[in-house]
Amino acid sequence: MKLQIMSPAADRVDYKVPPAPRLSGLRGKTIGLYNNMTGGADIAVDRVAEHISKRYPGVKFERYGGDLRSGRPSLSRGTHIDDKEASIIAMEVDAMIGATAH
């Protein structure tokens, strides 16, 4: 016999965010280093910065996560980067490297 059933899976909001253009290279760029304040994320992004500094002398870094900028949110796993903060960060860096620690 045939049994007809209804799909339990929901229709989804179809939302699209195109990827940002990539960099042609890292030379002379400013890289953001974001850690979400979970253990060791800061160590991970700092290690990346060490490598990049060796390969591309002159690259600058801006750090995000925690209470680093007066008047700006204390970014963490619980206080994520929202659109407003992202638009400010976009004026400060050319690219971002982040780490989540779990």
Binding site: L3, P8, A9, P21, D83
Partner: protein
């Protein structure tokens, strides 16, 4: 990181390998399946710097490369995005063989549309019958459920309720639970996608409990026929989280090992036996109102209390089981966390966490006989469950203003020079959510609240 990409900045994230599917599931929902991430073998929390360095060193070329190249999307299409209000129907061939009897379950499992346990087939007739449990129209959207951003229509919830074994009279409780999840202060996104082991617990108050057949006595949170309503409602919520929120095991749901409570938890307060007013009256509802409260919790820890001689012994016993080092006690000094609101990506502060203490009526009576109201008991726990201020300060900076003053609790800053200073583990007494239920004996179950809490009235049919 999608917010950063959306702002026009190329980004790459480093995450533990066990989070890879969860990451992909989240960025799919966020509309950017190609969002870059590079995995390392283990989480970094608690690891020594040298170990973290070695893990990063192995991936450094790929991390850098992701800033200059867009990776191919690894997203897999799943679920329906048909954009219409018409629910897909499937014809399943069944017969009397073991395989034939299990055909519906095999079909659903093949699409990852199940919690892994056999379900009741959601036939149109069964779903129509479930819809008789509400006056809400089938296409009403209660919320957009993350991480998949699925539309939680009344009909989709009804389909999942049928699968879980719910009956129409239980459907309003489930709908109210989804209404709770829809509230920003519930912070359901974090509940869904966190690596923490946590699950929603549904706490029911008012006359709906009896009407829905929810057990609030002995064994109410366990297996058994007398607990079938509790089990079905709790399970139905989990199926909704999977099939509507797309929070599938190992994908949207990256819990490190999961929790048995994730199959479902639903319990009502034993209002007939409790010496105190029920929880919903603490919130300003009338006794005859029916409400559902959902709290995101981990645990439980059972508190065994046979040797206490008085109410303070009992409270001491409960308090001694609640907090352990490095798990967030006292974090309220740093301000409230924020919930993240859908694709708008706005933040909304919420107070948390709330710790439900499922208190046997017997333990509540001990306190009431000693003259303690529920509020007194909550105040006692608030005052006596404390944490060293030094230990809080050693686990991350307290946000300060330009003059170095603590932003959130400047009145406590003077204590920071006192190595002996302690502060309450939780910010306010109400965060000890005393819920009196179960059989009347010498136990309590403590749930560690993690993300959010919300309460909503239940529809009257």
């Amino acid at each position: 990181m999608v917010a950063i990409e959306k702002a026009g900045v190329p980004a790459v994230a480093i995450t533990a390998r066990s989070f890879a599917r969860a990451w992909q599931s989240c960025v799919d929902g966020w509309g950017q399946p190609s969002a870059s991430f590079v995995t390392i073998p283990h989480g970094t929390t608690g690891q020594q710097a040298d170990f973290i360095h070695r893990m990063v060193d192995e991936q450094i070329d790929e991390i850098i490369q992701r800033l200059t190249e867009i990776p191919a999307s690894t997203a897999t299409a799943r679920g329906s995005r048909n954009g219409s209000n018409i629910t897909e129907l499937f014809d399943i061939e069944m017969d009397e063989t073991p395989e034939g009897l299990d055909a519906v379950n095999r079909f659903l499992a093949g699409r990852d549309w199940s919690d892994g346990i056999p379900v009741i087939p959601p036939t149109p007739v069964a779903v129509e019958r479930m819809m008789k449990g509400t006056k809400r129209p089938p296409q009403d959207v209660l919320m957009v459920m993350e991480p998949g951003f699925g539309l939680a229509t009344v009909e989709k919830i009804a389909i999942n309720a049928v699968m879980a074994g719910c009956r129409p009279e239980q459907f309003p409780v489930l709908l109210a639970a989804i209404d709770c999840l829809a509230k920003p202060e519930m912070n359901h996104r974090d509940m869904q996608v966190s690596g923490h082991t946590e699950a929603p617990i549904i706490l029911v108050n008012g006359p709906i409990a009896k009407k829905a057949g929810i057990n609030f006595g002995t064994t109410a949170m366990g297996p058994g026929v007398i607990n079938s309503a509790n089990t079905a409602i709790g399970r139905a919520l989990r199926l909704c989280l999977i099939n509507i929120g797309y929070c599938n095991a190992g994908a949207g749901d990256p819990n490190f090992v999961g929790l048995p409570t994730k199959f479902g938890m639903c319990i009502a307060e034993n209002e007939e036996v409790s010496p105190w007013q029920p929880y919903h009256m603490d919130l300003g509802y009338k006794r005859e109102d029916s409400t559902v409260t959902v709290v995101t919790v981990t645990g439980p820890t059972t508190i065994i209390d046979p040797r206490s001689k008085n109410h303070e012994d009992t409270l001491n016993n409960i308090g001694s089981m609640m907090f352990y080092p490095n798990a967030g006690a006292g974090n309220w000094l740093k301000g409230w966390d924020s919930a993240q609101i859908g694709h708008t990506n706005k933040r909304m502060p919420y107070q948390g966490p709330y710790h439900p203490i499922i208190l046997s009526p017997s333990r509540a009576v001990i306190m009431a006989e000693a003259g303690m109201s529920k509020k007194d008991a909550q105040e006692w726990l608030h005052q006596n469950c404390r944490v060293s201020l030094n230990s809080v300060l050693s686990k991350g900076a307290i946000p300060t203003d330009a003059e170095g003053k603590w932003v959130h609790h400047p009145e406590l800053q003077h204590l920071s020079v006192d190595p002996e200073a302690t502060i309450p583990a939780l910010e306010s007494p109400e965060q000890y959510l005393l819920f009196v239920t179960g059989g009347s004996t010498h136990y309590a179950n403590f749930f560690y609240g993690t993300y959010g809490i919300a309460t909503t009235p239940v529809e009257v049919i």
